[in-house]
């Protein structure tokens, strides 16, 4: 009996470990930022988080966070109301250091230290900030070990195939702001409902979404369709069920087209993503190559006066802000849309067809 008890005592921890491992394994292919448990470890409480880079113990209440991506690290945390961020990577423009997309959403993170360009995280500068949590993204995987050597590091994957709510909740759980994430989700759903109510028959309104400019990787004289790869505007257009150029619904990822193909990307509305903040010379050159072409003036949307620029700076990035901004702007646009133009020269489809 005593032997049995001894054996049970020995086996119990092992069984717990196996069960924990199984639970972790059942958590799905790519679970991000999932907090398992909160443990009081000495003086500081910690939580175990499963994320893109693995499993990490992080402070239950982080106070010195460094983000290793601005628009998918700093922005989603900041938009949840989290302010204990001591530093972030960013970008440069005209010699000025800044964090992408923050200004477009009215944020001024003046107390956040600019670390280095986002493509080249400066590990020494990160260590100098003495962070208690580092939030990176999947593309930081090559430096995950070094980052983990500085402080507990979690890698988020905002590009994975998952609902927006799930992705934002990953960030919210890291900093204990799940309620704020729920509130933003409700606000976003309200905006979508308003958009649905504004258009009786979304299948009869053909909306094309294109972009051009070096920011999107397009060469001069080319434009691109963003495909189904998680762009906020594209996601909303598909969600509401607007009719689209068939070509745009058929592509899964950003696809580039010669300007000669503009006609196939016509619509009642032609929405063009712009990213000309601070790069006007570049934007002017690309605009001239597309909008300066007589092919542009042949488009039905242009003839209807419904070729409209969207501020891409405010409609990309992590968190709900880009989605809420995009749905508000789309509502303004579709409420006034004229559907009288002839589109017989192109193939139209709806998300249901694709």
């Amino acid at each position: 009996m005593a032997d049995c008890a001894k054996a049970r005592a020995l086996l119990m921890p092992a069984a717990c470990l196996v069960a924990a491992a199984l639970l972790m394994g059942c958590g799905g292919g790519e679970s991000n930022g999932t907090a398992d448990e909160t443990v009081k470890n000495g003086e500081a409480e910690t939580r175990t988080v499963h994320h893109h880079g693995g499993t990490t113990k992080i402070p239950a209440d982080p106070r010195r966070v460094v983000t290793v991506h601005d628009q998918h690290g700093l922005l989603p945390l900041w938009s949840l109301g989290f302010r204990d961020i001591v530093g972030s990577v960013g970008s440069t423009r005209d010699g000025e250091r800044f964090f992408r997309r923050m200004e477009s959403h009215g944020y001024s993170p003046s107390d956040v230290e600019w670390i280095s360009p986002w493509g080249e995280p400066d590990l020494e500068a990160i260590a100098a900030l003495n962070p208690d949590l580092i939030v990176g993204v999947a593309t930081n995987e090559p430096i995950y070990e070094q980052l983990s050597g500085i402080a507990p590091t979690v890698l988020m994957n905002p590009w994975r195939d998952a609902p927006l709510r799930e992705i934002v909740m990953d960030y919210a759980r890291l900093v204990g702001l799940e309620d704020e994430a729920d509130r933003l989700e409700a606000e976003y759903q309200e905006k979508l409902d308003a958009l649905r109510e504004a258009v009786d028959e979304p299948h009869e309104l053909v909306i094309s979404l294109i972009g051009y400019g070096a920011h999107g990787g397009a060469e001069l004289g080319q434009f691109y369709a963003v495909g189904s790869d998680g762009h906020p505007v594209e996601a909303i257009l598909r969600k509401i069920g607007f009719a689209r150029p068939a070509e745009q619904l058929a592509v899964d990822e950003r696809t580039y087209y010669s300007v000669e193909r503009l006609r196939d990307h016509d619509g009642h509305l032609l929405l063009r993503m712009t990213h000309d903040q601070g790069s006007s010379s570049d934007d002017e050159r690309h605009s001239q190559a597309i909008q300066g072409s007589p092919l542009w003036n042949q488009l039905t949307a242009v003839r209807l006066g419904q070729a409209i620029d969207l501020d891409g700076e405010a409609m990309v990035g992590g968190g709900y802000d880009p989605y809420i901004t995009a749905s508000e702007r789309l509502l303004e646009i579709v409420e006034k849309a004229d559907t009288s133009g002839d589109l017989s020269h192109m193939v139209v489809a709806t998300p249901d067809d694709s």
Partner: protein, 343 residues
């Protein structure tokens, strides 16, 4: 006897003229193809109408007139300029692997543009042209200054080495500037691989005087290039001031290559490969080599451009990438099958 004569001297004037005529006919056919082939189909009738009886309501005709005609004309000008510049450079440096890039023209032009954007905030595309030009000219001047140091003046080997050093230096400075400013990085993309797409014909018009004067001067200098391509002692024995002539030819090359880079960005291998191709038909006489280059340069460049429109449908591959992809194996094959033709 006839056979023997042909074997000994295949590069007779009739043969060369016939070859040039065939190349010209091929170029004419390629121009038609360039107007018809692309992302959308264009009939022969639409292509013809677009040139002479444009119907502004016809999308296809507008494609030809607004897109394909300008890029075809730019291809003709740039192709000829690069090929002629390459041939002249090979003669001036007596280096069979020389091209316009060896004098630092490409890296100088790129550095000029990034400097203009970063330090001067130049925003208009026309501004880039002159900075590309100035950068190319400055780089070449520095290459000549370095290459002329020491006994013997500007020897081919010293010039080539100086070109490599200056290109590397300018390349590192350009990279450093780009790292400080993402806006410069965006602009730099334009200069990373040459393309004929989306280029404004008015930019070609702006640099056309340089192209025309450069090509005409080098055609007229055919005899001098023949002498310059001999060894140093022979050229001097024939009364040539080789240093002065080499410097003059290089200035003309910079005009041609700088103008080309300003319009279309850096396009490699045309200046390098075309002279080697044409020597198989023209022989080593630079009076003919230059003439052939005027025709075969555009032939190669337009072929690469058309290929680039097809292989990545619905997008396009920049012509600079196609010439590099096709040109590199071609040169390796050329070097393996037959020793590089005598200059």
């Amino acid at each position: 006897m006839t056979r023997s004569a042909v074997t000994v001297e295949p590069f007779t004037i009739p043969n060369r003229a016939a070859g040039l005529a065939i190349a010209t006919l091929a170029l004419a056919a390629l121009i038609v193809l360039s107007l018809r082939v692309g992302s959308i189909e264009v009939t022969m009738s639409d292509a013809f109408s677009a040139l002479f009886f444009l119907d502004e309501e016809s999308y296809e005709q507008l494609v030809v007139r607004s897109q394909r005609l300008p890029r075809t004309i730019i291809g003709l000008g740039i192709g000829a300029a690069l090929a002629v510049a390459g041939a002249a450079m090979q003669a001036a440096t007596r280096n069979p692997l020389a091209g316009p890039g060896i004098l630092g023209v490409n890296s100088g032009a790129a550095f000029g543009v990034v400097t203009a954007v970063f330090f001067l905030g130049i925003t208009h595309p026309y501004g880039f042209i002159w900075f590309a030009f100035a950068g190319g000219l400055l780089a070449t001047t520095v290459v000549f200054m370095i290459g002329s140091v020491g006994p013997g003046g500007a020897s081919p080997v010293k010039l080539a080495l100086a070109g490599v050093v200056v290109s590397a230096l300018l390349g590192s400075w350009t990279t450093a500037l780009v790292l400080f400013d993402e806006q410069s990085l965006d602009v730099m993309r334009f200069w990373s691989a040459g393309s004929l797409s989306g280029r404004d014909l008015s930019v070609l018009v702006a640099v056309a005087p340089f192209l025309v004067v450069g090509v005409v001067v080098l055609i007229l200098l055919g005899d001098q290039l023949n002498i310059l391509s001999l060894d140093e002692d022979s050229a001097r024995a024939l009364g040539m001031n080789t240093g002065r002539m080499r410097a003059f030819v290089s200035v003309v090359v910079v005009l041609l290559a700088g103008a080309s880079v300003a319009v279309a960005g850096p396009i490699g291998f045309v200046g390098l490969a075309v002279p080697h191709i044409v020597r198989r038909f023209s022989g080593p006489d630079y009076r003919w080599v230059i003439g052939y280059c005027v025709v075969v340069g555009p032939l190669l460049l337009l072929s690469a451009d058309i290929l680039g429109r097809i292989i990545a449908h619905p997008s396009e591959v920049q012509v600079g990438i196609v010439t590099a992809m096709v040109g590199a194996p071609f040169l390796i094959a050329l070097a393996r099958r037959r020793k590089v033709a005598a200059l």
